[in-house]
Symmetry: C2
Subunit: 118 residues, 2 copies
Amino acid sequence: MTAVKHDVFQAIADPTRREVLRLLANKELAISEITSHFPISRTAIAKHLQILSEANLVSGKKVGREKIYQLQPEPLSEVKQWLSYYEQFWNNKLSILKHIVENEDENDGLKVIKIDHE
Amino acid sequence: MTAVKHDVFQAIADPTRREVLRLLANKELAISEITSHFPISRTAIAKHLQILSEANLVSGKKVGREKIYQLQPEPLSEVKQWLSYYEQFWNNKLSILKHIVENEDENDGLKVIKIDHE
DNA sequence: TTGACATGAAACCAAAAGGTGTTATATTAT
DNA sequence: ATAATATAACACCTTTTGGTTTCATGTCAA
């Protein structure tokens, strides 16, 4: 189950939501406590928390009259996995070379020359 | 320079744009070629490319009557860096323990017991 | 030179996003 | 019991997003 109405990519697209996540990384917080760190209304923060919650990036438990939100970082692994595909293209020069070679037909006239060190 | 009007987080938030990036990872393509992979109009794809371009995730060069777009993956390193902060929370159990200990006040009654191996 | 092709540019549109404020309800402290 | 607190639930507003269609322009091929 864990219905994911809001995608994790969409959830982290908003800077305010990323800052909320950062706050919750330190410790779990009630909505009002979170709101006190931002210039916007409590209602707005509650909506952001709703979106984060739909992406399973946070979970909220009601304690007394407060609702305490907690970071749930596991869905971020989806982003990490997505990123890993592209890492090859910037991580090391060998991969960049590989990329060029594999797109040889798009690089007409380009030659890769192996240089022997004596 | 390289004015970043559209944030990389926002750029990758859209599934269509992520698919465009995936296509361009294989090889550089003209707008029409990209469009042929999607059920939406050429104009819509052009707009997505514009957004990706503003985030410096692609670059376009005009060749004859075509505009060829190419993947430019390095802005993704910003996402990777952002993610790395959260990896500690899901990557290994020691870090999770660390997280619990640092939030000790939020875990009243919880005790961490060190077990000596003989 | 005349179509066919690839793109650019503009006007337009519906829905979603990111806010606001108000009101109602449950919980806590005095 | 009462007042203050914390949130939920709405209704509402404006801007952005993701898409459309139409028309103009530059380029290639026959």
